[in-house]
Every structure is written in C-alpha cells, then in structure tokens.
C-alpha cells in the first residue's frame, strides 16, 4: 500500500523540499510529526508555484473537455439506458442538416457582422487618436459604455425597441406614416442580432485598437511629418501597420464570438419564439439538445465538432495575419 507522508503545513525549520515528499512504499505514517525525511528523491518546490494554476487549469479546462469527449462516445436513451457507440455521434453530427444550417448561419454572421464591427471600432479608434477631437475621454467612454451593459439587459432593451406593435419601430411607423418590416420577423432576425452585437462590442474593439495606437512611438509621427506625410498617409503607413497585432487579436476574438453566438438569440427567443429555431446557432443547438431533449451525448459531440471548427478558423485567421506580416 502506498502511503504519503505529507502534512498540510510545513513545520518550522523544515524546508519545503524535504517536507513535500512522497515516501516510499510501505512506510508507516503514524507518529511522523515533522521529522525529516531521509530520502528526498525529487525537488518538488516548483509545484508550489505552478500547483495552484495547474489545479484550476485541470479542473475548469481539462476536466470538462475530457468529460465532454468521454460523454460523446456514448448514447443514453430514455428507454434502454446507456451504451457505448464509439464515433457514431460524430458521424451523425457531420451529416446533421440542422447543425450545418446553424454553422452556415454563424458563418454568414461572421462574414458580414465582424468586418462591420471591427471597421467601426477601428474608425472610432483612429478618430479618437487623430488629435482633432475635443472631449476625447467623453467619446471614448460613450462608445465603450454599451460593453458595460450586461448582455441580457442589452438584448432586452433592443428587443423592446424592435417591437413593431408597441416598440420604437411602432413609434417610427406611426410618426412617419411608414410601414417598416418587423426586425423580429424570421427573415430579418439575424440582421437584428448583428445590430445588437455590433452595438455591444464596437466599444470593446475600439479600446483594443486605441490602446495599441497609444503605444506607437511619437518619433514615427514626427518623422512622417518631416517627410511631409498627411493624415491619411500616416494612417495607412504608420498607424495601421503598427497595430496589426491588435487587429489580428480582435479578429480572432470576434471569430470565436461569432461561432459561440448564444445569448442574443436565446433571449430574443422569448419575445420572438417563431423566428428563432432551437438550432439557430451551434451553441443554441447543443444547449437545446441537452436541456430539452436530454441528448447530452450528442450535444457533447456537437459542441466538440463546433469547437474544432472554431479553432481551425481562428488558427487560419492567425496564420493569414502572420503571413501578411512576413511579406510586408
């Protein structure tokens, strides 16, 4: 039997390395209060430093991932119990039209919404950095403010404004005597969600870009000015190349955010249940599979497949960014 001779607190005068020792097989534990270990075979001191991190990392990152992988290899049914099915859940996911519809939807979202959001964020950051604006802290805070509004609240505010019978849209219709299409209708809902997400995250991305711009050495601007570079020349030749790293990071964050779209459609579902399906986004699909359909195993497979796709796309974005850097 293996017994570990370790105590919670190192007694005074005993060094950590001696203290944190796993004793050899068969040694008895009883009565050993603070005595020195004769055979200190390994230096464990490093674990004191990485241990807490490794523990948390293992618990909240590795363990759930391993558990999801484990789950995805089984199928538990309401009748018939649990059975090992190997990779069947993955085979099913790869040909599941609902899953791919969801993937297509977030891909469209990614291709349309992310450039708009990052473009606006970049524009705002450049404008704030241009030294031609007064009240810079005021604008910076105003643009950032939506990010500080909790996502749930933001969606509820927008959901109210989108209302075409009693919301802001209804008021506009009545005031101008027009008939705007309902933003909560099935054909416009993705656009409406894109609008909410843009509103929420422009400020966040602006801040990333703005702080990167602040780190650009002043000498570069001075040199450019001496060379006769105008404002736009400075932007394209100095500012944008200097913050390329920040742009790549923001893009990767946005890619991941798009694939993980969940909060906005999930909350809007309560006011527009007929416009948002249970498989609107991959995350929403996995959520409904497990919590409404008790298909935990299949949901785990869906989550892993969409996680892998997200990783691949994010990696490609990074690769493309680095490649450009190398050639420029």
């Amino acid at each position: 039997m293996t017994v570990a001779h370790v105590h919670a607190q190192p007694p005074a005068g005993v060094s950590t390395e001696t203290y944190a020792t796993v004793a050899a097989t068969g040694t008895r534990a009883a009565g050993a209060t603070g005595g020195r270990r004769r055979r200190a075979r390994r230096d464990w001191a490093g674990w004191w430093f990485v241990g807490p991190f490794m523990l948390v990392f293992g618990l909240v990152f590795v363990a759930p991932l391993l558990y999801a992988m484990y789950l995805s290899l089984f199928r538990e049914t309401l009748i018939g119990g649990n059975s090992f099915v190997g990779l069947e859940n993955y085979a099913k996911a790869l040909v599941d039209p609902k899953f791919w519809e969801a993937m297509l939807r977030v891909s469209i979202f990614l291709l349309v919404q992310v450039p708009i959001m990052l473009g606006l964020g970049l524009f705002a950051a450049l404008a704030l950095d241009s030294a031609r604006l007064r009240w810079v802290p005021f604008y910076r805070l105003s643009i950032f403010l939506p990010y500080a509004v909790p996502g749930v609240v933001a969606v509820m505010i927008w959901g109210y404004m989108y209302g075409s019978q009693f919301g802001l849209v209804a008021d506009i219709n009545r005031f101008f005597g027009v008939e705007l299409p309902s933003p909560l209708a099935e054909n416009l809902i993705l656009l409406s969600i894109g609008n909410i997400v843009t509103w929420e995250f422009v400020g966040y991305n602006m801040l990333i870009f703005f702080s990167a711009l602040k780190a650009v050495p002043q000498e570069l601007y001075e040199a450019a000015e001496i060379d006769g570079a105008g404002a736009f020349r400075t932007i394209f030749s100095i500012k944008l190349p200097s913050i390329r790293g920040a742009i790549i990071i923001a893009t990767i964050f946005s890619v991941i955010g798009s694939f993980q779209l969940f909060n906005e459609p999930s909350i809007l579902q309560t006011i527009a249940p007929n416009s948002i399906t249970t498989y609107f986004t991959p995350n929403l699909y996995a959520f409904n599979l497990s919590f409404a359909g008790s298909q935990f195993n299949y949901a785990a497979a869906i989550a892993i497949v969409s996680g892998v796709i997200t990783m691949v796309v994010a990696y490609l974005v990074q690769l493309a960014g680095e490649k450009n850097e190398a050639t420029s």
Partner: protein
C-alpha cells in the same frame, strides 16, 4: 485504514496540486454515503419525527403554505427553493436525477410533463403511502393526469379547464355584444375586430401548450402511449379541424404574432389590441384586473364546434415526491394533508381547484368577481371542468416536443405557412426522436 489513506491523499492533493484526477477520486469517495430512505410507508409516524423537507417551486405562495403546514406539524420544517418557472424545475430535476443526487423531496409538476418525469424515474409511486384513497375527491381529468403507467405519481393541485376571457370593449367596438359560442361565430368576430381596428386582433397565434390544448378541445387525440409504444398522428380529425380553422385565421391576418406573456403582449392586452385569451381557468383569478378597468374583461365558455360543450385542460400542476427523496413517507404525509380539508384550502387559495367538492361548493361558485363586473366567473370554469373531453394523453417526452414546436409549427405561425404541413414536420421530428430514444413510434 483505507479512510486514513484517503485523507492523506487528500492532503497530498492540496499541497502539491496534482490536479483534477485526485479531486475526482475524492468526490467519488465523499458521495458514497447516502442516508438511505427508511422504506417505511407509515406517513403518520414519519410526521412525528423531526424532518426537513426540501420543496422546489415556481410559485410565490409556496413559502406561506409551507409555514402554515409547519404550524400544523411542528416537527416538519421546509426548505423552500423558488425557481424561475416550470421549465426550470423540470430541467433542474432531470439533472439531479441524472447526477444521482440533489433532487428535492416535494416538487410541483405540470400535468403535461408527468409522463416524461415518470419515464425518467424521477417520481415516486404514491400508492404504497395510501394516496390512492383520494381518487374520488378529484375530477376525472386531473386524476387521470397524475396516473401514469399504472403508477400514482402525484397529487392533483390546481387545474386548468379552458375558458375564454374576452375584452368586452373591443368586441363591442366591432359590433359584437355576445361572446361567440361556436367557432363559426368566433371567426365572424375575428374578422370584425380586425376590420374595426387594423391594429387589434382577436387572439395571438399561440404556443405549443395552447396548440395541444386546442387540439384536445377539438376532440383530437394525436398522442397515444402504451408502454413503449407511441403513436403520433398530428392529422387526426380533431387536430385537422383546429389547424384548418387556425390556418384560415392566420392567413386572413387576423392573429397577432406576439408571444404570450411577453411585454408587448401585456401592452396589447392593456391597450385593447388583443381581444381574447383562451386559457386554463387558473387565469380567472390570475390578475386580469391588471390588464384593464373593472368590467373590461368577462369570462365565457370555450366556443365549440357543434354547440355542445366541449373543453380541455390547459396547464395546471400536481405535487409529486421524487424518487430520490430520503423522506418519502413524510413527504407523502404532507401531500395527504394537502389532499383534503384545511390543507386543501391552503392549495386552493392560489389557483383553480381540481377537487369535486370545491368545484361544487355554492359559496365558491357564486362568488362575484369585482374585476368582471360581479360575474360569478367560477361557474364558467366549473362547467368547463365537467365538459373536458376524456382520454387525452401527452407524449412521454412532451417537454422536448414543446421545445421543438417553434422549429416547425411556430415557424409557420410566424411567417404564415401551411399549418397542416408544419404539423407533419413536427410529427416527423417527434417520431424520429422517439425512435432514437428507444420507443417504438408509429411502428
């Protein structure tokens, strides 16, 4: 010795942080000491002993009820946990059952999810504790709802025989002074209301719970379960009758698309833009006075197809004891107390009753509701309870069915598609899911 060793390993884990594996082992160790249920079925004896019962709920009044019960049974204390809504309770309960621990002792269950939770092994059979004695006290439809696969899995709480609550002002504005008694009259009223005010609608298009209840009230019986054999026919006569009718209203643009209980829906009701609620009788005392001045709303029987009274249940729930409860006898004893007499009054204070005696109580029947201009509205609900069509069954996975309703029928309701086609699409999803889950569906 083994225990000592375990504890040492625990310290090793704490000191050197070897990660998740050890912690998993420890969690496994600590979970292995359940204080098992004694197995006694003597409910009176169980209530003599000190016991704490966990009671999940979605209702605001449960704490009050629990306090009142504690006064009657001083040895019993309650730990009332309020959750957001019935769906949240089902999800949490299913997770607890799957995890093997964490379920409460007493839990409210909607009638429509009783089969699902029974199948999942979440609910205890209450017959051994003597609750079957109360059968005669309850209406046939609610007693039928708590009996699933030859087990008594709950005590009926409130009930929801459907009634029609309508906005008298909106109807009158359209020139209609009497509540429609048939669906033909309802159709006439519907067109008139929308014509008189293009922003006003007779009703909203509804959700899964509404749709199934309307099918039930139309004599449909799309779901049949016999053990593991399930039959789904969402094009049977009754179903088709209602879906044809509702399709016509929808395609005439006479139905509001607002989601029931949403903020906009509330506004539509208060601003006289939504004419009718077709709901369970729990809505009679459900705060209609918040939606308009006294007398604005009135309660009428459900319209019918042929003039003969026909109704269905919509909503309503019972109280169950979970299979994980370690105090089943005590929990069942509390349910017995709530089955009749003063205990029953506690339950009835907040809901439409399911007990025959209460439904026939003249004092209750004749109570004039100030909100409905002194109309004795309970009479309408009681008459509806007596005309609920018998034989209805929910699916053993109704929760899932209601969840994916929006993918097919909801979609059609939202964008004006063909409801019969949508019902067939819903059916396909339900057949596929059922077969995957081990049932024999439509085979």
């Amino acid at each position: 010795m083994e225990q000592i060793t375990t504890r040492r390993w625990a310290r090793l884990g704490a000191v050197v942080g070897t990660g998740a594996l050890l912690v998993g082992v420890l969690a496994g160790c600590s979970a292995a000491a359940p204080g098992a249920d004694s197995g006694s079925t003597d409910t009176d004896a169980a209530l003599e002993e000190d016991v704490t019962l966990t009671w999940w709920t979605w209702s605001d009044s449960t704490q009050e009820q629990a306090d009142a019960i504690s006064e009657k049974y001083p040895n019993v204390t309650f730990d009332v946990v309020k959750l957001e809504n019935p769906d949240a309770v089902v999800t949490k309960l299913q997770n607890a059952i799957k995890a093997g621990k964490g379920a409460p002792d007493i839990v409210p269950v909607e009638y429509q999810t009783m089969p699902q939770l029974t199948l999942g092994g979440a609910l205890a059979d209450l017959t051994p504790y003597g609750l079957d004695e109360y059968e005669d006290a309850f209406t046939a439809s609610t007693w039928n709802s708590v009996n699933v696969q030859d087990q008594l899995v709950g005590l009926p709480g409130d009930s929801g025989p459907m009634v029609m609550i309508y906005n008298t002002a909106l109807y009158e504005k359209a020139g209609i002074t009497e509540a429609p008694t048939t669906w033909d009259e309802f159709a006439t009223a519907s067109a008139a209301i929308h014509a008189a005010d293009p922003e006003a609608y007779i009703a909203n298009s509804g959700d899964a719970g509404f749709f199934t209840s309307m099918i039930w009230a139309s004599g449909g019986q799309p779901f049949t379960t016999d053990g593991e054999n399930v039959t789904i026919d969402l094009q049977d006569e009754g179903t088709k009758k209602f879906s044809d009718f509702w399709s016509e209203r929808l395609n005439n643009g006479e139905l509001s698309g607002l989601a029931t209980w949403s903020d906009e829906w509330t506004k539509a009701l208060t601003q006289d833009k939504l004419g009718t609620l077709l709901m369970g009788s729990w809505m009679i005392s459900g705060g209609m006075e918040d939606y308009g001045p006294a007398g604005r709303f009135k309660v009428a029987p459900m319209p019918t197809w042929d003039g003969q009274p026909a109704s269905a249940e919509n909503g309503g729930s019972g109280l169950s004891v979970t299979s994980q409860s370690e105090h089943k006898a005590a929990a069942a004893g509390i349910l017995k107390y709530l089955a009749e007499g003063e205990g029953r009054e506690l339950l009835n204070a907040n809901g439409f009753p399911s007990t025959i005696a209460d439904l026939e109580n003249p004092e209750w029947l004749d109570y004039p509701f100030p909100g409905y201009s002194d109309q004795p509205a309970n009479q309408v609900g009681a008459a509806s309870a007596a005309s609920v069509i018998s034989g209805w069954q929910y699916l053993p996975y109704q929760g899932y069915a209601n969840n994916v309703f929006s993918d097919s029928v909801g979609k059609a309701l939202g964008s004006g598609g063909d409801l019969n086609e949508a019902l067939l699409a819903w059916q396909d999803t339900l057949v596929e899911y059922g077969n995957e889950q081990g049932f024999s569906v439509n085979e």
